[in-house]
């Protein structure tokens, strides 16, 4: 009996993105940063070499208690005792892979439109990839599916789905906005000098949205536009603390002004409208607007479409 699959940050190997650094070194940095599922993708190496790589990577991921998925090859996954396999639309069908791997291993598949996602769910996939959300060098020539498909998958698909393709720290919010709760990145992580910090930042954004959902659920009405809020980090020392209601949820904070509260939620530089006790507060007055215990604050995204 395998435990139900859950993860937030999916990292895939891409050795061409880090010449001069070893694959294990880079992946360990990603794992330290909080990657909670790892895929070995290597379209170049001969199978024997691939099995060796998979075995070494499996040792590493096992140390962190993180599953290892092998791209394309169920036989390699079995030989290296990996936790599962990831298939493309042109690879082995899910049913055939399941027969090879048995019920205990994870099978994921890339999808590029909702019909493929539905088919994958019906065929018993454990998760699907949704993308490429943005144009990506990892899959040149593949047309980006945009966040519209992410929103579609979020609305329809019951199994875990992970958004992939051109995702970076810069556009992660947009993908999360569209409804993704799991992100995958290749070049943005393994191609970065500091994969650990990129992972940590991406994970922070994902966690913020998980919490944002709880906030939305806590509200008696659920608007489509509340800003997601990550939990404020308590500062050390003896400071005044007050209870305020933020987006419908009671929070304890040390913030003395609206600006400090916004900073705790990392809303600086973002197009957000703030309301305090029923009135909008102009942005430049946030710093001189005091917070009182029992106050009610709402942060909402400025809506730009038309």
């Amino acid at each position: 009996m395998k435990r139900p699959l859950d993860f937030k940050l999916y990292v895939i190997t891409g050795e061409n993105y880090h010449p001069g650094r070893g694959m294990l070194e880079v992946m360990e940095a990603a794992l330290r940063g909080g990657a909670d599922i790892v895929q070995l993708r290597d379209k170049m190496s001969p199978k024997r070499e691939l099995i060796e790589k998979a075995k070494r990577l499996k040792e590493l991921t096992a140390k962190y208690g993180v599953p290892l998925i092998v791209n394309d090859h169920p036989d390699v996954a079995l030989a290296a005792d990996a936790d599962g396999v990831h298939l493309g639309q042109d690879d082995l069908p899910i049913e055939a892979a399941r027969e090879l791997l048995g019920p205990g291993r994870i099978i994921g598949i890339s999808t590029h439109r909702i019909e493929q996602a539905r088919a994958a769910e019906r065929a018993g996939a454990d998760y699907i990839g949704v993308g490429p959300v943005y144009p990506t060098g990892t899959k040149p020539g593949r047309k980006a599916v945009t966040t519209a498909y992410v929103a579609q998958a979020a609305a329809e698909i019951g199994i875990p789905f992970v958004a992939i393709g051109g995702i970076t720290e810069t556009n992660a919010e947009e993908v999360l906005w569209a409804g993704a709760r799991r992100l995958c990145a290749v070049s943005a992580i393994v191609g970065h000098d500091n994969p650990e910090s990129v992972c940590r930042n991406l994970l922070g954004k994902i966690n913020a949205w998980h919490l944002g959902e709880q906030v939305a659920l806590a509200e008696s009405v659920s608007l489509s536009v509340p800003v997601s809020l990550s939990a404020p980090m308590p500062a050390p020392g003896d400071v005044r603390e007050i209870d305020v209601v933020v987006n419908g949820r009671s929070e304890r904070t040390q913030a003395a002004t609206l600006l400090e509260l916004a900073a705790e939620y990392k809303l600086e530089g973002r197009s957000v409208i703030a309301e305090l006790d029923g009135a909008v507060v102009p942005r430049q007055l946030w710093g001189e607007t005091p917070l009182q215990g029992g106050g009610s604050v709402e942060f909402v995204h400025f809506v730009g479409g038309g």
Partner: protein, 419 residues
């Protein structure tokens, strides 16, 4: 007399609505309104205004009708999409059939700092139907500099927000949002989140309602709130709008605001405000240009700010753009850039065909061509191009250099990529 009787008959149910009455209806007939953007919100807003009997409507839009607009942009049909008509042109044609009495001025143009104030110069109210925060902030500056109420509306997914901002009563959009121009931090738009028609109509309806109150003199009925709604999960929330921010050069009133205004006029972006004499002259020139264009509008069925129709029209629409500046438009797959307006559409047609493009639309307002790689190039008569389907800005610039630089190599050298 006949005309009055017709008006009474035509608007009888609206006149019977007590807060409007005969007097309110007369005020509507005398009112001038600017609708910026003729997409989902803009088309709906324009229709509300024209049906309600607003005397003069000015409509500006930079885009053309495509099939993917039809599910929510209720003024347009398949023929408009087939003909690739500019939205301002297609909208004006429909609106004239709805109400032949109204004066409708349609402009195919991108609203920028140069023309925003002129466009808003002589109207009573501005309705926001744009699709981006940067244009909204420009509109806010123009409206608050001139004391014109602005009805903001925005929509994405199944939700939206709206507020009527009245100079003197409320602070401006720049103060609400902060100085930094928005839209790059993952704030939702129709391209990322999709959009459903009912959400558009809910926001447009609330914008139109505030506009009707403001135009008919029902000031005490104005909501005075920032309203957020969701059509799918049904939720409406509103918050009181804050008063002007004292030191702001746009909405402020105090001595520091006046100083900030002087500062802006002297050293800042001189086109933002019309305080200096130089600026006033420029203002006169652009107003003359606007008049010129307007005359052309009256003479023609529909019109654009096109050099062939109004020699002075160029001043209004920024003829002096030298280098190509690439602007990411409506999501990530449309890029807009300015062209040398001295090249005519027929000349562009010749050049693009010679360069191996297939012409997919050709009307008096625009030319659409398809490259060998099936990217689309749309050239508007006023000297502006859209590049669609290029994916990356680098590719858009390649397309520009290959197909749209004027052959002397001069433009390509001057090109600056700004986005």
């Amino acid at each position: 007399m006949l005309r009055e009787a017709e008006t009474e008959e035509r608007y009888s149910r609206q006149i019977r609505f007590a807060p409007i009455g005969t007097q309110g209806q007369r005020r509507l007939g005398e009112a001038s309104v600017l609708v910026v953007g003729a997409g989902a919100l803009g088309a709906s807003l324009a229709q509300h205004m024209i049906r309600a009997g607003v005397g003069r409507l000015r409509l500006v839009d930079r885009d053309y009708v495509e099939l993917s607009n039809l599910h929510r942009q209720t003024l347009y049909d398949e023929e408009d999409a087939e003909a690739a008509l500019p939205k301002a042109v297609a909208a004006a044609a429909k609106l004239r059939r709805v109400n032949g009495r109204a004066r409708i001025e349609a402009f195919v143009a991108d609203v920028d700092r140069r023309n925003a104030e002129s466009l808003a110069a002589d109207v009573d109210l501005v309705l926001d139907g744009t699709d981006n925060a940067a244009t909204r902030l420009m509109l806010s500056d123009a409206c608050f500099s001139r004391g014109i109420p602005l009805v903001y509306g925005g929509v994405a997914g199944s939700g939206g927000m709206t507020a009527l901002l009245v100079p003197g009563d409320h602070c401006c959009l720049r103060c609400l949002l902060g100085e930094e121009e928005t839209g790059s931090d993952g704030a939702p738009t129709c391209d990322t989140l999709g959009v459903i028609s009912p959400a558009v109509e809910m926001v447009a309806a609330l914008q139109a309602a505030e506009a009707l109150k403001a135009l008919t003199g029902n000031r005490s009925a104005l909501r005075g709130t920032w309203l957020t709604l969701d059509a799918w999960h049904f939720a409406v929330k509103e918050w009181k709008l804050p008063p002007p921010v004292e030191p702001c050069p746009y909405c402020g009133w105090g001595e520091s605001a006046a100083a900030a205004r002087r500062e802006l006029a002297e050293h800042g972006d001189s086109v933002r405000l019309s305080a200096s004499g130089e600026r006033a002259k420029e203002q006169n020139a652009t107003e003359a240009a606007l008049l010129g264009v307007r005359r052309a509008v009256a003479a023609e069925d529909v019109s654009i700010a096109d050099r062939s129709e109004s020699a002075t029209g160029n001043a209004l629409f920024g003829d002096d753009r030298e280098a190509a500046k690439l602007i990411v438009l409506c999501g990530r797959d449309t890029f807009q850039l300015a062209l040398k307006p001295s090249v005519s559409l027929s000349e562009w047609r010749r050049r693009l065909v010679a360069a191996g493009c297939a012409i997919t639309a050709d009307n008096r307002y625009l030319l659409r061509a398809s490259t060998a790689a099936e990217e689309r190039i749309v050239i508007f008569a006023e000297g502006r191009a859209l590049i669609q389907g290029a994916g990356e800005p680098e590719r858009a610039m390649e397309i520009y250099r290959h197909y749209l630089s004027d052959g002397t190599g001069r433009e390509a050298d001057e090109t600056s990529v700004g986005f």
